[in-house]
Amino acid sequence: MANGGLSIAHSHSGHVCVVRLTGRIDNSNASEVTTQLSGLIVSGEKNILVDFDGVLYLTSAAFRALLIAADQAERNAARLAMCSVKGHVHDLFEMGGLLDSFTILGSRDEALARLA
C-alpha cells in the first residue's frame, strides 16, 4: 500500500459511486482523498458513498478532506454519504463533533439501499 498506507478504489453499484478507503488517513495522504472525491464530483457523479470499512486510523486531516468534499458536492448538487463508520473511527468522528456534519448511513448494504 503506497502513500503512508492508504489505498483508494472506486466502483459503481447502480447509480451510486462507492469509494472504498483502506488503511490509514493522515496528513501524508489526505490530499489524495480530496483529489479523488473532487475528481468524481467534477466528472458528474451525483451519488457518492465513501466506505470506511477498511479504515484503521485517521486524523483531522481526513476530516478536512471530507469537509472540503462535502462542500464541493453540495455546490454541484451531488450527494456525499459515508458508511461503515465504526469502532474508534466512529469515536473520532464523535469527538470531532462531526457525526451530524455528514450523512452517515450504517453498513454498505444499508447505505446502498438508502441511496438507491
Binding site: G4, N27, S28, Y57, T59, A61, L67, H88, L98, S101
Partner: protein, 153 residues
C-alpha cells in the same frame, strides 16, 4: 516513570519516525490498544502542527518529542524553538454560517483536547513546551507472567 526521547526534523516524513517510536514504546510498555491509537492521533496532530507552523520562515529545524509512561498515565511532551503558540488558546471550530458543517480548520487541536486528560503549555527560554497526558487502566498481565511476577516478589 519510563520515557524515551526522539529528535525530529521539521519534515513531514519524520511523522512516520515518531509514529514507529510510539508503536514500539506502546508494545514494550503494554499500553492498551485503544489508548495507543488515541495517543497516535494526538501525536500525529501535535507534531504535524509543529512541522507546519512553528517556523514560518522555513529552514531546517530540530525539535524534541518525549514519550513517557507510569502505571496509569501515558504522556507526550513536545519542545520546539519555533514561534510561540499555546494550543490551549486555539478556538473551537465554529459552524459555518451557511452550513451545518464546520470550516475545515482547527479540528486537530479540538481532537487533541478531546483525547487527552491533561494539556499544559509553557514558553521557556524562547521554547514552546507542550505536555499532554492520558490516563488509562493498565491491561492485566498474561497468567504466566503474572505468576512469574508473584514468584519474584
Amino acid at each position: 516513570m519510563r520515557s524515551i526521547e526522539v529528535t525530529l526534523r521539521n519534515n513531514p516524513a519524520d511523522i512516520s519516525v515518531i509514529r514507529s517510536a510510539l508503536d514500539r514504546f506502546g508494545a514494550e510498555e503494554r499500553i492498551p490498544g485503544k489508548v495507543l491509537i488515541e495517543m497516535q492521533v494526538v501525536l500525529d496532530e501535535i507534531v504535524s502542527n509543529v512541522i507546519k507552523y512553528a517556523w514560518p520562515g522555513g529552514g531546517s529545524h530540530d525539535f524534541l518529542v518525549r514519550l513517557s509512561i507510569d502505571h496509569t498515565t501515558v504522556g507526550v511532551e513536545v519542545v520546539d524553538d519555533g514561534q510561540a503558540y499555546d494550543p490551549r488558546d486555539a478556538p473551537m471550530p465554529a459552524p459555518a454560517s451557511s452550513s451545518r458543517r464546520p470550516p475545515p480548520g482547527g479540528l486537530g487541536i479540538h481532537l487533541i483536547k478531546q483525547l487527552v486528560d491533561f494539556l499544559e503549555y509553557e514558553r521557556i527560554d524562547e521554547h514552546n513546551r507542550v505536555s499532554l497526558k492520558k490516563r488509562f487502566v493498565a491491561a492485566a498481565l498474561p497468567q504466566n507472567e503474572a505468576s512469574d511476577g508473584k514468584r519474584r516478589a
